[in-house]
């Protein structure tokens, strides 16, 4: 089997926030009826957390489940477990109108760490990132400059962000530029 590598192989950039390409992450797109008991149970056993509320991301350790749309979830597991987890999800949802697909290699993951993280994203996305409006555990699909992304606040000073793998370099460059020392706005 080929040796899987992430899009930017762990590239980092340090500005007033630390931008890191987070390496390989197992990601499963799960579509189906989010209110179905069968689906809730399958998600819980695959990721160890409950189906999140609207625009939220539930995480526990290396696993997480994020709310993508009224009929879509993003299930995150360690990369080594993703093939297994996908087939277990698919099996658990047999007979349901649902679909689980492994999209790990189609995506790139970034972390934005530091007090300035909110500002780095606020410069690039049309999202209210104030401390009152965007709290820990919130998840938001939006755009980052010209690219479609989704990000969530893992803890008070750490954002995680996913984008399409083909746009990884663009997103990394945009984030790095936004975090350039001396370009702090100081509003958030």
């Amino acid at each position: 089997m080929s040796n899987a590598v992430s899009a930017l192989q762990g590239a980092t950039s340090e500005g007033f926030a630390m931008i890191t390409e987070a390496g390989l992450r197992g990601m499963i797109t799960l579509r189906g009826d989010l209110s179905s008991a069968k689906l809730k149970k399958a998600v819980k056993s695959a990721a160890g957390v409950d189906v999140p509320a609207q625009r939220a991301c539930n995480s526990a350790g290396a696993k997480a489940v994020a709310w993508m749309s009224p009929d879509e979830l993003l299930v995150m597991v360690p990369y080594a477990e993703v093939v297994d987890a996908t087939s277990r999800l698919a099996k658990a949802l047999e007979g349901e109108h649902a679909l689980a697909v492994n999209v790990s290699d189609a995506r790139a993951v970034f972390t934005i760490e530091g007090e300035g993280g909110r500002e780095v994203l606020a410069k690039l996305s049309p999202v209210d990132l104030s401390r009152e409006a965007f709290t820990t555990g919130m998840f938001r699909r939006t755009r980052l400059a010209q690219a479609a992304v989704a990000f969530w606040l893992r803890d008070e000073t750490t954002f995680e962000l996913v984008c399409f793998r083909s746009e990884a370099q663009y997103v990394f460059d945009a984030l790095s530029m936004s975090a350039k020392p001396g370009s702090e706005v100081g509003f958030l």
Partner: protein, 112 residues
């Protein structure tokens, strides 16, 4: 800047997160319809100065289509609602007529 609240994910999305889909509530003419009706369906669109019902897609977001009622000149938004409907819900019509008492859905559908 136009800001619409997506009824599916509850995000107050600004224009750059959305993609416009033109006039809402168009009846699709298909097999069995006459040429005039088909031509009307294909090419004739209301282009009102004032209240308009439109389709929008939350493209950089949840990806769902929804409907919006707004004023094309003032950008005032009367409300957004589900795409799974042929006519605007009563709450939307009430919100429009509260501000524009002489507006009616029939006139809008007949406007060109």
């Amino acid at each position: 800047m136009l800001i619409l609240e997506c009824p599916y994910c509850g995000v107050k999305a600004e224009e750059t997160e959305l993609h416009g889909g033109g006039q809402a509530h168009i009846k699709r003419e298909t097999v069995g319809s006459d040429d005039d009706a088909f031509e009307h369906y294909l090419f004739t669109r209301a282009n009102p100065r004032g209240v308009h019902l439109e389709r929008w897609r939350h493209a950089n977001g949840c990806g769902k289509w929804f409907h919006a009622a707004r004023d094309t000149t003032t950008l005032e938004v009367f409300g957004t609602y589900s795409a799974q409907t042929y006519v605007p819900p009563k709450a939307i019509i009430d919100a429009i007529t509260a501000k524009r008492p002489d507006w009616s859905l029939n006139d809008w559908q007949g406007a060109t």
